[in-house]
């Protein structure tokens, strides 16, 4: 469960129960994000705890934030998942957009480092 390109990297570390997202995610449309949704859903299939580490995700386009929003709705509907999201104070979009994800799923443990 790992995707690495010159622009971005997504991978799951089972020991840390963490999915890491790094770099510039600028895929076109939700279909293009399917492999990334697969990484996330597979990670959550194995475990009810998940940490989503976005600290080094410098850029995420609108399709990407939509994908992330829908993933959050899915795990909220599943009901038994504890999700922690790690963001960076230095990345402007994270300080704006990640708080909105908490509106979709108030139990998200959101931490800005």
């Amino acid at each position: 469960m790992e995707i690495r390109t010159k622009d971005y990297g997504i991978w799951y570390d089972p020991q840390q129960e963490t999915v890491y997202c790094q770099g510039f995610l600028r895929l076109e449309g939700l279909d293009a994000y399917q492999p990334i949704i697969n990484v996330l859903t597979e990670a959550i299939a194995q475990n009810n705890n998940l940490i989503l580490d976005l600290q080094e995700l410098e850029f995420l386009n609108s399709s990407g934030i939509s994908m992330l929003s829908m993933f959050i709705v899915d795990i909220r509907n599943r009901g038994n998942v504890h999700l922690k999201v790690l963001g960076s104070k230095k990345v402007l979009w994270q300080s704006k957009s990640l708080k909105n994800l908490q509106r979709l799923m108030p139990t998200i443990d959101l931490e800005f480092i």
Binding site: L60, S69, M70, L104
Partner: protein, 340 residues
Amino acid sequence: MEMTRDNQAELMDLQAENERLRQQVERLQQTNQDLLVTLETTALHGDIIEQQLEEANRQLQFEIGERQRRQAALQSLLNVISRQKSDLEVILQTTIEHGDAVETELADLNQRLEAEISERVEAEDKLRLILNTISKKKMDLEIILQTLIEHGDAVEAQWYNKAVEANILATIDNLTQIANRRKLDDYLAEEWARLGRDCLPLSFLLCDVDFFKTYNDTFGHQAGDRCLQEVAQAIAVTVKRPADLVARYGGEEFAVILPNTPLAGALQVGERIRQAIENLCIVQTPSCPNPYVTISVGVATAIPGQGMSIASLIAIADQCLYLAKQRGRNRVCNLTAASV
């Protein structure tokens, strides 16, 4: 004698008989009398009774007539009432039958309505469930939309800041933190076009640090860099108007654009710059004529487009700078006034 006895006996008999007959006549007369009285009484009584009976009969006749009339009237009324009763019975029957039919229909209708209500209640429950689900989804979508909008804005701001930063970096000279040559060229072209439309003068100053190579060789590149930074900031502070631009032209050369400024004003600005650099008191090498770092300034003024190009304006400023250098440095020159 025998005969007499017989006659006598007979006589006696006859007498007795006669007596008996007389008594009988008397009794009969009495009876007759009684009968007469009785007859008279009876006749009288009969008359009275007859009269009474006649009267009674008359009254009865009258009453019978009355009763017959009443009976006829009653019979007529009875007939009417009978017809009405018969009609009413038909009506009642019809009404009962109609009522039964209507009741049956109503019962059926009622059953159907109850079934329908039950179905509708079920449907309503289902719809409510669907509505709840849709409402939840709608709320989610609204939040996602909001997230998208804010995310879009944040990303836009992030890129915009980067673009502004990049733009600033592209137009700022890294060492001196004033405008670079690229910015100078762009701004000069813009102002040249703008002032040309309004037929207003543009002055261009070229400034060159005197004996900079000697300074650099003596004090080293780092000191040379610091010198250039101080000179650049001093020129920038001296040139005050917002539309003026100070830029690093290259090496130890600086340029100043003074839009809408005639030659006299430009010469004054040039002199203030020269003075400001001298006042910095940056110590120069002893081999130089001046104890402090100085600057030479060439000034060119033109109204854009009137037989003059940007290149020729710069060339004139360069010539003036050369002239200032030739005439001993630390001075401001233009083609008509050699030194101020």
